[in-house]
Amino acid sequence: MSSHLRRLALLLLAALPGLWGCAAATGLVSIAAVGGTKAVQASREITDSEEYYVGRAVAARILSTYPLYQNPALTEYVNEVGQTVARKSPRPNTYKGYHFAVLDSEEINAFACPGGTIFITRGLLATCASEDELAAVLAHEVTHVVDKDGINSISKARWTEVWTSMGTEAARQYGGVAGNLVNLFEGSIDDVFKSLVVNGYSRSAEYAADAGSVKISMAAGYDPGALARVLAKIEAKQKPGAGGFYKTHPPASERLAKVKAEAPKEAPPAAEATRTQRFQKIVKS
């Protein structure tokens, strides 16, 4: 009996390198996976938290150009409509959530900062005639966040420089925060701000945001035809040589044609009158 056991022990001992080899082989797969992840990190996408910090800086810069409209009841209402559509978007949660605010400007405009802070001007709010139209505008901006259009406007060369500077040297300089990283952050904010406020996103990004808005509106129970109505009003208000929204977005007429083709022809959803009533009470008062 004891000789059997001794043999078993010897067998296990003999098999040990092989078994550890198997474990090590599993480990190698794991190493490869970890190594792969790190290789990806060398050219990784921006993380949700980095997107959030870029978005905060972009929002801070927009607010140094457009004053924040201090109207708690209106801000609360815009947030309620905004949250209602954001939760039905393909990206219902961002790093620190969606936040909506009103800018004290007569200009017709709206901005989606990376990470989920969304601004709408008083001018655009006044152009909307109902909650469904406001929801359509906010859903368009939410789609820019979903599609990461702001973050994608950071130049590839700059982002490449960001991650190549994230080496040990940058970490060593951490005591004073690697200055290069701050400069690259600053440049990234410039890239996003220029796209958002000066040049606008690509036409394809705007058309995608319109299509996203129609889908989100439907998913939330709002009228999918509301976006077309707002676009028609925006087009009607356009003055020759107008800047702002008119400069950063494709012509409303072109967008209108696409949106009309995409939106299903359905009867207005239930309770639209109730929604319009509360919109009138808060926004138009």
Binding site: I31, Y53, T274, R275
Partner: protein
């Protein structure tokens, strides 16, 4: 006279059991701990942002990782099980060492404390934002904080949705 049993030469049973224990050790030690490196992290019942969070996990909290599925880690924190998104754990440093146990078990590689220091200098962090703020005093960060402080309570949103005849 027989020697006391404790002083006997290790028998084959002992050798076999010791070897088996050695082989099983990595499996036993699979659960690893990781430190949450980002603020405002929530524990979700499922690996999906769509589910309502069951608890919040503060930055610096040490959680026991039970398994990984894509971008999600099933963890145990203060006796509660749930899922944390990968964003809770900032990207590892390129120069990080590895934990041999983690490599053998396929478990997440835990960062060493020196890596944690290195991580602080990676990417766009609150520290980078702070330096940017000093460089740009005109940027209205105070108002951004005000905008971010605006919250709609879940119950209030549900009432708003319901009143407006919208989809829950």
């Amino acid at each position: 006279m027989n020697r006391p049993i404790l002083f006997r030469r290790p028998g084959p049973w002992f050798l076999a059991l010791a070897l088996l224990a050695l082989l099983l050790l990595p499996g036993i030690a699979m659960a690893e701990t990781m430190k949450v490196g980002q603020p405002n992290q929530s524990l979700y019942p499922d690996p999906d942002f769509g589910s309502a969070p069951v608890a919040s996990v503060p930055v610096g909290a040490v959680v026991t990782v039970l398994q990984q599925s894509g971008d999600w880690y099933q963890v145990e924190y203060q006796g509660q099980r749930g899922w944390l998104n990968r964003q809770a754990f900032p990207a590892p440093a390129a120069s990080s060492g590895f934990n041999p146990l983690g490599l053998l078990t396929g478990a997440p590689v835990k960062e060493t404390s020196s890596d944690e220091v290195a991580l602080a200098g990676k990417g766009f962090t609150p520290e980078v934002e702070s330096s940017y703020q000093q460089k740009h005093p005109e940027a209205k960060y105070g108002e951004v904080d005000q905008v971010e402080a605006q919250q709609v309570a879940a119950a209030k949103l549900q009432a708003f949705i319901s009143e407006g005849g919208l989809k829950p």
